[in-house]
């Protein structure tokens, strides 16, 4: 009988769900503190931030990298590749863009599949073979299918709000107000809660981002049926990334979360806890496992 060769990674789903749960909990805690001590002002703060971030998130990566939408006539190969992948995955075709940059990378933006843009840099198209590029594109299309821009926007909201509060409370006159009765000073409570929430949410969003990269790798590899091509692209790019001049990379770094592989300066070693992407070894290991699953005789 028909059965699927594509086994879900339950451990990954569970870790992801748990991380999201913790982030939600943080949000509730921060929100409760704000509303408790600031009342209506707290609510307005939260709502305002949500709206601003929601609209800002949509195209930020595309603008920052100077991606330009291309028609099927301008880039027939790229379009054809994406056409076929979308037909395989049964998803609406996203807009296709090319960024004129030698940093070898690709990214997807847009909160919904209808608004999505998949962008590849000229650098990545020059370096990768068609099959490898297809692997990278299927990874990006999986980000679109998983609504990762939305998920990460919502997930990072707590951290952004907490970071903003930490600074604002410290520098503004809000500290002059006292709590209603004999409670602790408002400024102290909000600052402390914000700092703790900020630190925790930072770690959690980074963890969530890493999990979602792994999920996109998995879904992308399963879609093309060629995990090894994606692995090979990964090796090529991560090797190349280290050789790119630092100046370009520093400009690129704030937008790492949307990238296929993060741009880090050479010799730059962040603890894996702070990283938006899993290590290349971790990603390769998963792809090897999928490759073995696929090759197992029926």
């Amino acid at each position: 009988m028909a059965r699927s060769r594509y086994l879900p990674d339950r451990g990954l789903s569970a870790r992801m769900a748990f991380t999201m749960f913790l982030l939600g909990l943080l949000f509730v805690v921060l929100g409760a503190v704000l509303v408790r001590y600031l009342g209506a002002l707290g609510l307005i703060l939260i709502a305002g931030f949500m709206v601003a971030q929601w609209f800002f998130s949509d195209r930020v990566a595309l603008y920052s990298m100077g991606g330009r939408e291309v028609s099927p006539q301008e880039a027939p190969e790229l379009h054809a590749m994406i056409d076929r992948l979308c037909a395989l995955a049964d998803m609406p075709k996203p807009k296709v863009a090319i960024a004129d940059s030698d940093v070898p990378n690709a990214f997807a933006t847009g909160r919904t599949p209808q608004r999505a843009v998949v962008c590849a840099t000229t650098g990545i198209m020059r370096r990768l073979s068609p099959a490898e590029l297809e692997g990278v594109l299927s990874h990006e299309l999986s980000h679109v299918a998983h609504r990762d821009v939305t998920v990460m926007t919502v997930a990072s909201f707590v951290g952004v709000l907490a970071g903003f509060l930490t600074r604002m409370v410290l520098y503004s006159g809000m500290g002059n107000r006292r709590g209603n009765d004999s409670g602790p000073p408002v400024v102290l409570v909000i600052t402390l809660v914000s700092i703790v929430v900020y630190a925790l949410s930072f770690l959690l969003t980074r963890a969530l981002s890493r999990y979602r990269e792994l999920a996109a790798d998995r879904a992308g590899a399963v879609l093309t049926g060629r995990p090894s091509e994606l692995a090979s692209a990964l090796v090529k790019i991560s090797g190349d990334m280290a050789r790119i001049p630092t100046r370009d990379l520093r400009q690129a770094e704030p937008f790492n979360a949307f990238f296929f592989t993060p741009a880090v300066a050479p010799g730059f070693s962040l603890s894996s806890l702070f990283s938006t992407h899993p290590t290349t070894e971790r990603r390769l290991e998963q792809l090897t496992r999928i490759s073995t699953e696929l090759g197992r005789p029926g």
Binding site: M1, A2, R3, S4, R5, Y6, P8, L12, S13, M16, A17, M20, P76, A80, M81, D83, R84, C86, A87, L88, A89, D90, P92, K93, P130, A131, E134, S142, A145, H146, R147, D148, V151, Y211, R212, A215, A216, R218, A219, V222, L223, T224, G225, R226, P227, S228, E229, S291, T292, L294, G295, R296, P297, G298
Partner: protein, 189 residues
Amino acid sequence: MSWLDRALGRSKPPPPDLDQLFAVPDAALTLESAMGIRPTGLGSVSFRAAEGGAFASVANDVQALLDADAGPKVERSVDAFGYTWLLVRREPDDVSGLVTDLHAVNATLQDNGFGPSLLCSLVGFQTSAGARLGLVYLYKRGTFYPFAPSGEQQRDNALELQVRGQLANDLTIEADLARWFPVWGAPGT
């Protein structure tokens, strides 16, 4: 895909819808009587070959199965995008035989767990003026669309839309025109 699968990043390629293909013989009759477009007897199945030994052996099985009956052999080719095409030849009038062959490919792939690898299927037609027309079947959508290549990277949209109008009652035509992607040089067109 459910919202939960999206939220947890567990998307997977959807299974194909195989049965719609059997509507093609009726559509072929409609095309011939209404527009003088006749089948060429060529049909092809396109799938994404997965890496590894399992898929290779399934693909060989499929070819052996189709080659087992008398008549011309199935031709296998790989296009520029890495998709495998199996080209089946029948007599121009034997559209139902052609569809049965195509279905055999689909069923074998699906039984071995590679159903999600199916991309599209194509049945070749020709207008009385000699222009080529492919009826492309999208497995994941269960829909058809016409593809009429009229030159190097050029397609005859007028003919395609005309065919869409004629076949509206026989086949489920893909409503989203953005998904009518071109298959240049596909075997069978």
